[in-house]
C-alpha cells in the first residue's frame, strides 16, 4: 500500500496557507490523476478540478490592433429607453386629459334645431366665450406643458 503521508501533510499546509507555489503545483498534479488518488482523499479532487477549470477561462476574443483606434464600447441604452417611455406616458396622459375636457357640447355638431334657429345658435356661441370657458381652454393647454 502506498504511503500518502507526504500528500496529506502538503494538504494540511495548503489549507493553512503555508505551502509554496511549487508545493501547490505538486498537489494540483497529484489530484489531476484520478488513478493515484486514494479513496480517503478523493473529495479533494473537486477543489483542484475547479481550479483547473478556472485557469482555462478566457476573455472574449478581441483584436489588439483595433483597440487604440476604435474601442468597442458597449453603450448602455437603458436610461434612454426609460426617458422615452416617461415622455410617451406623459404625452398619452396629456392627450387623454385634453380629450376628456375637450369633448363638450361646444365641439358637437350643430343640432338641426340650432341651424333652424340662428338666435339660439348665437346664444350658445356667446356662452362659450364667457371667462369660465376661457379658463377651461387655458387649463387644457397647460396640460401639454408636462
Amino acid at each position: 500500500m502506498k504511503d500518502y503521508k507526504y500528500i496529506e501533510e502538503l494538504l494540511e499546509s495548503y489549507f493553512r496557507a503555508e505551502t509554496s507555489l511549487q508545493e501547490e503545483q505538486i498537489l494540483s498534479a497529484f489530484f489531476q490523476d484520478e488513478s493515484q488518488v486514494p479513496q480517503h482523499l478523493k473529495a479533494y479532487r473537486a477543489l483542484f478540478a475547479v481550479e483547473e477549470e478556472m485557469r482555462r477561462q478566457r476573455a472574449p476574443q478581441a483584436s489588439a490592433e483595433s483597440f487604440g483606434r476604435q474601442p468597442a464600447r458597449r453603450v448602455n441604452l437603458r436610461p434612454f429607453y426609460r426617458a422615452a417611455a416617461s415622455v410617451a406616458i406623459v404625452l398619452c396622459l396629456g392627450m387623454a386629459a385634453s380629450m376628456s375636457m375637450g369633448v363638450t357640447g361646444d365641439d358637437k355638431a350643430p343640432t338641426a334645431e340650432a341651424v333652424e334657429n340662428p338666435d339660439a345658435e348665437f346664444g350658445e356661441m356667446k356662452q362659450s366665450l364667457t371667462p369660465q370657458s376661457s379658463a377651461a381652454v387655458e387649463k387644457k393647454d397647460t396640460l401639454f406643458l408636462y
Binding site: F15, A17, K42, L47, V50, A59, A64, P71
Partner: protein, 166 residues
C-alpha cells in the same frame, strides 16, 4: 495601434486580458460585468500608456485597477457579489471523464467559492488560479503578506468544509 505610440501597452497590458477577465469575473460573478471591467481597464491603461514605463509592475497595477473597477461596479449596482452566476454553471458542462461524485464536489466547491467574502475570493483567484506569490498578491491588494496568508487560510478552510461529507 501603432508600435511607436503604444508605449508598451501592446506588450505589457494587452496580454493580461485573460487574467483581468478572470479576476473581474471572480469579483463580480458576472461574465457581462467582467467583460465591461476589462474594457474599462484597457481604456484607462491606454489613456495612461505614456506612464507605463514609470510603473514598477504593470501587471500588479493593472490587476489592482481591475479590482477597483469591479468593486465600483458592484457598489454602483447596489448588489453584493454573492449571487451565483447561472452562465458560469451552464458553461461548466459535465466532462466525459468526470464521475457524478466529482461533478457534485465541483458544484459544491464553486458555490463555496462564490460565497466567500470578496477579499478571500480575490486572493484565492490570484494565488490558486494565477499562481501569484504572497508578495505579489500583497502588492496588488495593498495588504501585508501576513494578511494575505490569513485571508487565504480562511478562504481555503471554508471551501474545504464544503467538501467534507462529499
Amino acid at each position: 495601434m501603432s508600435e511607436e505610440r503604444s508605449y508598451g501597452f501592446k506588450e505589457h497590458v494587452w496580454p493580461l486580458r485573460d487574467k483581468m477577465f478572470r479576476l473581474a469575473h471572480r469579483i463580480t460573478l458576472s461574465r457581462e460585468e467582467a467583460e465591461d471591467v476589462v474594457q474599462d481597464t484597457l481604456e484607462r491603461m491606454w489613456r495612461d500608456r505614456e506612464r507605463l514605463s514609470l510603473l514598477d509592475s504593470v501587471e500588479a497595477w493593472t490587476l489592482r485597477l481591475v479590482r477597483n473597477l469591479s468593486l465600483d461596479r458592484l457598489k454602483r449596482s447596489g448588489r453584493q457579489a454573492v449571487e451565483l452566476d447561472p452562465e458560469r454553471d451552464a458553461a461548466a458542462a459535465p466532462g466525459a471523464d468526470r464521475t457524478m461524485e466529482l461533478e457534485e464536489g465541483m458544484r459544491l466547491v464553486r458555490e463555496a467559492m462564490d460565497r466567500l467574502p470578496e477579499m478571500q475570493r480575490s486572493i484565492m483567484e490570484l494565488r490558486d488560479i494565477e499562481g501569484k506569490s504572497y508578495a505579489e498578491i500583497a502588492e496588488i491588494l495593498e495588504l501585508t503578506e501576513s494578511q494575505v496568508k490569513v485571508y487565504l487560510h480562511r478562504g481555503r478552510e471554508k471551501v474545504k468544509k464544503s467538501l467534507i461529507g462529499v
